[in-house]
């Protein structure tokens, strides 16, 4: 029967407000509380720019990923054609000994922080080439440090998304404070000195114009036009036409 006390009235006001409280609403709509690490990582993982790198059939799947059906732009992945603008390389395809120096160079040209996704059996172990190939590199992690491995031959585009999501999780856990140690790679990454001697490039750019292509060497010309019998005269004409 008693009217509510002042204390009870106040309590009721807080528990069942007649309208939404303006101040907290405004705060939660306009202010974000986070850490530098979190927002920095969020920005980075939302705009992973992969380098357009494909050496074999795996890139067909990456190309499907770029297309409208799988559309990797929705993960913030924008293909870049320059290593200077990219922070992710998906090694799509077999890497040979001839390609290896180019791959390492491309990797080194990418700015830190950079990530590597080894895509497909070839870049993990050499794949089907690991039995007897004279030139396939057995696992791209012998050349550059790998963050995520995608098994498959070739992996489906969904598998690449899975790898990208795993990489995003990895990036979201990183901290600027640990940057010095995390950049120093802790993965399987071994480089060996081959003590090879650099040779001058064998391709000089004068391909079809090169002097050796203008006319056959004298001995060959003689051998080709060697008169042997009656057909020789007609046959010679034919050759000159060709």
């Amino acid at each position: 029967m008693n009217s509510p006390t002042f204390e009870q009235q106040q309590q009721e006001k807080i528990l069942n407000p007649s309208s939404s409280t303006q101040i907290t609403q405004d705060l939660s709509e306009n202010v974000i509380l986070t850490t530098v690490d979190d927002i920095y990582n969020w920005a980075r993982l939302s705009s992973l720019w992969p380098m357009l790198y494909g050496t074999a059939c795996c890139f067909i799947e990456v190309a499907a990923l770029i297309g409208s059906r799988f559309d990797f732009d929705r993960y913030g992945l924008v293909p870049r054609s320059s290593p200077r603008q990219s922070d992710l390389i998906i090694t799509a395809g077999t890497v040979t000994m001839k390609m290896a120096p180019a791959l390492v160079r491309l990797y080194e040209e990418m700015p830190e922080p950079k990530y590597v996704i080894a895509m497909g059996a070839c870049t993990i172990t050499g794949g089907m080439f690991s039995t007897d190939s004279t030139t396939a590199v057995r696992g791209v992690d012998k050349l550059i440090p790998v963050d995520v491995y995608i098994p498959g031959c070739p992996p489906r585009p969904e598998a690449i998304f899975d790898a990208v999501i795993k990489l995003r999780k990895k990036i979201s856990n990183q901290s600027i404070q640990e940057r010095a140690t995390s950049i120093e790679q802790t993965h399987r990454f071994y480089s060996t000195r081959h003590n090879m001697k650099a040779v001058a490039p064998i391709l000089d750019g004068t391909y079809i114009q090169s002097a050796t292509r203008q006319a056959p060497p004298k001995e060959l010309a003689e051998a080709m036009g060697m008169p042997l019998d009656a057909i020789e005269s007609t046959e010679k004409k034919e050759v000159e036409r060709g």
Binding site: R138, G139, I231, G242
Partner: protein, 178 residues
């Protein structure tokens, strides 16, 4: 090239045991004084002719005059460790309205220690890269080729990888991944 190899390998052994009837092109070459040896035809019944390295150019020129205007495939294979290297030339006659063009395959057997054969680049330009590949993989020197450089392997690679006695270098990159 691998297919060609597989196709021909079983035929080699039969060559010595059977008497081979010389085919059309081989007979024509013999009639015209070009020394050659007919080999047993392959599974698709394509005439095969063994040719001396010295005589390859005159014979190839003659066949060009005879109508073989298209070098469909040039390649090489290794008969086995210590045996000869073979450089082959698959020729066909390309013309209008032909359903079944004449085909012939020339084979040059080369000694392993000094595999030298004249280049047919100056007759069929198609031989350019194919001879480069045969050089790269088997170390066959095509004399007179305008640009005989490695085409597939690194420019500083040592050895010829498709020879049967090739030993792969023990590079770290080529060792098994675990």
């Amino acid at each position: 090239m691998a297919e060609e190899q597989g196709k021909q390998a079983p035929q080699e052994s039969e060559v010595k045991s059977e008497i081979v009837v010389a085919g059309k092109t081989s007979s024509w070459l013999t009639e015209n004084g070009f020394d050659n040896e007919a080999l047993a035809p392959d599974v698709s019944n394509i005439e095969m002719i063994k040719v001396d390295a010295d005589l390859l150019l005159p014979i190839a020129t003659a066949l060009y005059g005879y109508g073989y205007n298209y070098l469909q495939c040039q390649g090489a294979y290794d008969l086995g460790a210590g045996k000869e290297l073979v450089s082959f030339y698959h020729l066909i006659k390309v013309a209008d309205d032909v359903k079944q063009p004449d085909e012939v395959r020339l084979k040059v057997f080369l000694p392993r220690d000094n595999p030298q054969v004249p280049s047919v680049y100056w007759i069929w330009k198609a031989a350019d890269w194919q001879e480069r590949e045969s050089y790269d993989m088997f170390g066959i020197i095509y004399e007179g080729h305008p640009n005989l450089k490695r085409i597939l392997m690194n420019e500083d690679w040592i050895g010829y990888p498709l020879r049967k006695d090739y030993v792969s270098p023990d590079f770290y990159e080529l060792q098994d991944a675990y």
